[in-house]
């Protein structure tokens, strides 16, 4: 029998494969479901993905709702919102969490309107307030200067998006068993994906990167971003940039980290020639480890750094590359 209610996570498929963020959500969802004593279900929408449902069970799901159709091969917000909305209205989860990726952030604002409930964006922490069994959603606000705890007392499901990499997935356990529920709702769309144009760039998308080497005004010019790319490649990372560097066209907007760019949470963030304006700190201060290189010993970036080097990035970075190569 299908178990209604409970905690749901929205799985994300990229290039036909269940993406890592889906397993991160299951780690959050497992905690919430265990406290509430309810089942944890994952929703999996895509084409040729049914075979990957077992992987979601192995990462913590008790149940997987699978909608597998050629028409769901590409993410189209109208059909995905209708499919998910249909599942939600029939099976009534208490809680629904998605990743704060371009997909989750495009989809969930459609769903919360349809379901007439609350939606909290970009959470970094989730827990259950045991007395009222309500989801407590914690998110940074005002440029990361404050943390806001938000509840959804007046609507179901309680919905939020969760910042990628805010949690490690549970170790895969292939001995876990779960129920796979195949669903066949209306999957048609009035929209069409014409083409995907991949970025010609070194490394993973910033939100997925384990290491980010970021440059700011102190890099003194577009030419010098080549050394950041070299360092990033050596460390298996990606290149980021401050708003100042993007505004001067030294780096593309897709690299911008901060309030008007991306929020990132890599294992290691190396800030090169970045002073650390509020605008920038908002997007990177949640990184596991921060290394900062800046000529100004008073620079704000040093206040969020685990290791600060007072020096010219244009000297320190090439020397670091030399040491890594030797």
């Amino acid at each position: 029998m299908i178990e209604s209610g409970g905690v749901w996570t929205l799985s994300e498929v990229r290039g036909g494969l269940v993406h890592q963020v889906s397993y991160e959500l299951l780690a959050w969802g497992r905690d919430l479901a265990d406290v509430l004593g309810t089942p944890l279900s994952a929703v999996l929408m895509g084409h040729g993905v049914a075979g990957q449902a077992e992987g979601l069970v192995a990462h913590g799901a008790d149940q997987v709702y699978v909608v597998d159709s050629p028409e769901l091969a590409d993410f189209l917000p109208d059909s995905f919102a209708r499919v998910l909305g249909d599942l939600v209205s029939r099976h009534r989860p208490e809680i629904l969490i998605a990743s704060a990726t371009s997909t989750g952030r495009a989809l969930m604002p459609l769903l919360f309107v349809d379901a007439d409930t609350g939606l909290t964006a970009d959470c970094t922490e989730l827990s259950i307030e045991t007395d009222e069994r309500l989801l407590l959603q914690t998110r940074p606000a005002i440029g990361g200067n404050v943390m806001a705890d938000i509840r959804t007392p007046l609507g179901r499901p309680q919905m939020c998006t969760v910042r990628p990499r805010s949690r490690r997935p549970l170790p895969e356990d292939r001995s876990r068993t779960g129920r796979i529920v195949e669903e066949t709702p209306d999957v048609s769309s009035v929209m069409r994906l014409l083409e995907f144009l991949p970025e010609k760039k070194v490394g993973a998308p910033l939100q997925d990167a384990e290491v980010i080497v970021s440059g700011g005004r102190g890099m003194k010019g577009a030419r010098n971003f080549a050394m950041l790319e070299e360092l990033a490649a050596l460390l298996g990372g990606s290149v980021g940039a401050s708003r100042a560097a993007v505004d001067m066209n030294w780096a593309p907007y897709s690299s911008q980290v901060g309030l008007s760019g991306k929020s990132v949470t890599p294992k290691v963030y190396i800030a090169c020639g970045i002073s650390g304006a509020v605008q920038h700190l908002a997007g990177m201060s949640a990184s596991d480890t921060v290394i900062a290189i800046n000529t100004d010993p008073e620079a704000a970036i040093f206040r969020v750094a685990d290791l600060g080097i007072v020096g010219d990035a244009l000297e320190v970075v090439p020397a670091l590359i030399g040491r890594l190569r030797s």
Partner: protein, 270 residues
């Protein structure tokens, strides 16, 4: 073609100061400005008129009376009309109540082919309100738009910025576009534009003029509640070394940190 732009007045980001004792934002004496990401939405609306023709561009905002200033900035850049939704009953709105209010304000202005917003506001940072307004009005949802390729024959083709690249997507009109910063470089206002904006009348629309009941507005109509605000001390007690005292020693430290975090040469994990 009729185009609307949703704009928001926000505190100037470089100016954000937090009261250490209470963890709340100090609003006194803080400069307010048009949300920087909304500048790109206004600019794109004006460019869409230049490229494809538009009979009218209406800028709409919800906020206190002083938010009329944000609308004047939009008018100075080329919007034809500004409308401010302002009422004590709107206070405490979360993203859903805000979206309902804005959608109702738009309905009052007639049908629009395109509604644009910035990707998100730099204060709330949710990015939910624009797409939600579009959903309420039954428009095609297009989030993270980085370019508008064509508009015509009831269809629109845009590029969307997503992880690892861009998507080209076609959708029927009417459509709601939330735009990212890379879509354009906003123009500087002309003196004439600023003069016109300063003189423009900005009608203020209250709750009584909207087609929503009071229990769907403001705090009463908001499913979410902020229960606590805390001030995180993200300040790290990191070590700071000077490269002048020895570049090699500084490099040793960096390599040590990388190693301790399991990051090694070539991205192999130690």
């Amino acid at each position: 073609m009729r185009v609307a732009v949703l704009v928001k007045q926000v505190p100037a980001t470089e100016d954000v100061r937090i009261d250490d004792a209470t963890g709340t934002m100090i609003r006194e004496g803080v400069e307010a400005e048009l949300n920087p990401l909304d500048l790109h939405a206004v600019e794109e609306a004006v460019r869409l008129r230049e490229r494809f023709g538009a009979s009218e561009i209406v800028a709409l905002s919800m906020g206190p009376p002083r938010a009329a200033k944000a609308l004047r900035s939009a008018l100075a850049m080329g919007c034809d009309r500004g409308v401010l939704l302002s009422d004590a009953k709107f206070a405490g709105s979360d993203t859903l109540a805000t979206a309902r209010t804005l959608a109702s304000g738009l309905r009052r202005e007639g049908a629009f082919d395109l509604v644009l917003s910035g990707e998100r506001a730099t204060d709330g940072e949710t990015g939910q309100v624009g797409p939600a307004v579009g959903r309420i009005l039954g428009m095609s949802p297009l989030a993270f738009v980085s370019a508008v390729e064509s508009v015509g024959d009831g269809r629109i083709v845009v590029r969307r910025a997503v992880e690892g690249g861009h998507e080209r997507v076609e959708a029927p009109l009417p459509a709601m576009l939330s735009v990212v910063k890379e879509i354009n470089v906003p123009r500087l206002c002309t003196l004439g534009g600023r003069m016109r904006a300063r003189r423009a009348e900005i009608p203020v629309v209250g709750a009584a003029e909207l087609d929503i009941s009071d229990d769907r507005l403001g705090l009463a109509g908001s499913p979410t509640r902020v229960v606590r605000v805390s001030y995180p001390h993200v300040v790290r007690k990191g070590r700071v070394l000077s490269a002048k005292d020895g570049l090699d020693a500084a490099l040793d430290e960096i390599l040590g940190v990388l190693e301790s975090r399991g990051i090694a040469r070539g991205g192999e994990r130690a």
